[in-house]
């Protein structure tokens, strides 16, 4: 923690107690219940359940194995689902958001990874799928899925964030929770072939500077990738969190570019074409460009800069246990490398306290941070800010807007504020 950040928390928002002291007391997390659904029992009954009775599920056999063969979450978790934020004119060129408010650790379950499709999810038979690599190469080649899976493989845990995540440039909706503000984020273990391995196989011509990646969806989605990135850490992915890619994530094959904006990670990948200049596709000219004050737009802004958000407590949740101990928990990530530290404030950024980072702390992956907090029952403004290994500090909204204005749409990464009211409600803070 730097000298500047050593100012003590103000009484108005309670104190962030010493972490070790908290752990010694054995104070648990059970006091905090995420989500917005209200149980039918009174809070006191639900909390105590006294006197303790033997429940019916101990008096009979449970479900047999293989029911179902592919496991699904408990029916009690039915509200933990992807959601659309608002109705759009189509439901195939559309977006659904990951329920970060219910997340633990750093891995996004495959069924909860956000969706951003431009023409729906194609139903691709992997036996009929092909990857073509051509253009400025020594020998153009086509690969079947079986062939791709014969190449030496790599696995890597890394985040993927849509550059349109967090649309807070001009205003925010008062009823947005973290699912709506930050839910275009996932972090998975990705398995596949390094693109550099494939490019060795075709032989890259010296003039090649860009790689066009093209999807096999009805948008035939295309983006241009700099050759340096292609040869650095790009992966041709077929595995996600221990199984084959989900259809929504590009089954049977996608491009994965650690730290780069989500749209470039072309799903349902069918073609790579090497060229000596960018291909100037629709998605890298008319979209995914950042309009600046003065009317010029930035193009080829690929890296997702450091960002963080508190997922618990967050908008739409309640401090169900009343005043007392809570753990502030959230996610931080940077497209430039590792997160160096995360700081948490309960007084709207007047004072900052270093959060604990849960290992593993991986380059270009989400990291889980935690800070113990004894809520005094008064109004509080919760914030987090990430600092990555390059020294970059996640900016405040006003700092970001001072430079970029409010019309750039993409790459918003400012500090997010959740307001805790004295009645325990948590909501987005509209300044």
């Amino acid at each position: 923690m730097t000298e500047n950040h050593k100012r003590e928390a103000t009484a108005a928002s309670g104190e962030l107690p010493n972490r070790r002291a908290i752990l010694k007391t054995g104070a648990g997390l059970s006091a905090f219940v995420g989500g917005v659904s209200v149980p039918s029992l009174s809070m006191a009954q639900a909390a105590t359940g006294l006197p303790l009775a033997v429940p019916e599920w101990m008096k009979e056999q449970g479900r047999p194995i293989l029911s179902p063969p592919y496991g699904v979450p408990s029916p009690f978790e039915k509200d933990v689902v992807r959601r659309q934020r608002e109705t759009r004119v189509t439901d195939t060129a559309a977006t659904s958001f990951s329920p970060l408010q219910n997340s633990f650790g750093i891995i996004t379950p495959n069924g909860l990874c956000f969706e951003r499709h431009h023409a729906g999810v194609p139903n691709i038979d992997p036996d009929r799928h092909r990857l073509l690599v051509h253009g400025l190469v020594e020998r153009p080649l086509v690969f079947t899925m079986d062939e791709l899976m014969r190449f030496p493989s790599v696995s890597r845990i890394a985040f993927l964030e849509c550059s349109g995540n967090t649309p807070n440039w001009k205003s925010v909706s008062a009823d947005f929770g973290v699912q709506q503000t930050h839910g275009l984020l996932m972090c998975c273990e990705w398995t596949g072939v390094l693109l550099s391995t494939l490019l060795d196989e075709v032989g890259v011509a010296a003039q090649a500077k860009w790689v066009l990646a093209e999807g096999a969806d009805a948008a035939a989605m295309t983006r241009s990738v700099p050759i340096a990135k292609a040869l650095d850490d790009a992966i041709i992915v077929y595995g996600q969190n221990g199984e084959r890619l989900r259809a929504e994530q590009g089954y049977p094959l996608r491009l994965f570019l650690p730290g780069y904006e989500g749209n470039m990670n072309i799903k349902w990948l069918r073609r790579l074409k090497l060229g000596d200049q960018p291909f100037e596709t629709r998605e890298e000219t008319s979209k995914y460009t950042d309009l600046m004050p003065g009317g010029k737009a930035r193009q080829f802004t690929f890296v997702m800069e450091a960002k963080s958000v508190i997922t618990r407590p967050s908008g739409g949740q309640r401090m169900r246990g009343g005043p007392g101990f809570y753990e502030i928990s959230g996610l931080a990530w940077s497209g430039r490398g590792r997160i160096d530290r995360v700081e948490v404030s309960t007084d709207g950024g007047q004072s900052w306290h270093e959060a604990e980072l849960q290992e593993p702390i991986l380059s270009k992956a989400v990291v889980r941070f935690r800070a113990p907090w004894r809520w005094d029952g008064k109004a509080a403004l919760l914030q987090s800010r990430a600092i990555d290994e390059t020294g970059y500090v996640q900016p405040r909204h006003d700092e970001l807007v001072d430079v970029r204005g409010v019309n750039s749409f993409y790459h918003y990464n400012a500090i997010q504020t959740w307001r805790v009211d004295s009645d325990g409600r948590v909501a987005i803070h509209v300044a």
Partner: protein, 190 residues
């Protein structure tokens, strides 16, 4: 070991300047050789310099008819876009917005924002019409592109597009892009 062998190949290529392969390593022998005829149906990208444009031609007049039949249902008769009650966003507006990029509420269209006319051909050919992508002939894509440019006052009413003149079309916002990423550009003060 393969890394060092790659190094020597690159070194030799550098020293003798006879090999054009910048990045070479031992091959694993996986995959199938293909010729351009094998992948002609997939090789549909069109670049800003016109590389990839197919033979064919299409006029503004032909495009007007196709647009009314195929495109206007979503994009509006005059390319003005379309709102749908209860839905956020709407179907993309294609026309107008000139002079708004530095205003509080800019209107980003083909005419006001897109830097290259070739991108219009590429995108329409690969992804439009929304309900039947890759169903238009190359002539029809030229024609629709011509009509959209005409509606934006970029082509005259008697305009005809082909592989030769489409890359010559100068879009109003062609110089409106900064292609070097200036980030990190925001310094946090605290």
């Amino acid at each position: 070991m393969w890394r060092s062998s790659r190094f020597f190949v690159v070194l030799i290529a550098f020293l003798f300047n006879t090999v054009t392969i910048a990045h070479a390593a031992e091959r694993l022998g996986i995959g199938h050789a293909v010729s351009p005829q094998d992948f002609a149906a997939w090789d549909i990208d069109v670049r800003a310099d016109g590389a990839g444009l197919p033979e064919g031609r299409g006029s503004v007049a032909e495009g007007r008819e196709i647009f009314a039949r195929v495109c206007a249902a979503c994009h509006g008769e005059k390319g003005e876009g379309k709102a749908v009650p209860g839905a956020v966003g709407g179907f993309d507006r294609l026309v107008g917005g000139a002079g708004t990029l530095d205003k509080a509420s800019p209107t980003l269209t083909v005419g006001s924002y897109w830097p290259y006319a070739t991108t219009l051909f590429d995108y329409v050919r690969r992804a439009m019409p929304f309900s039947a992508p890759q169903s238009l002939s190359n002539d029809q894509v030229y024609a629709v592109s011509a009509y959209v440019l005409y509606m934006n006052n970029i082509l005259p009413e008697d305009g005809v597009l082909d592989a030769k003149n489409l890359p010559q079309v100068k879009m109003p916002n062609q110089d409106g892009f900064i292609t070097q990423d200036p980030r990190p550009d925001v310094k946090s003060k605290d």
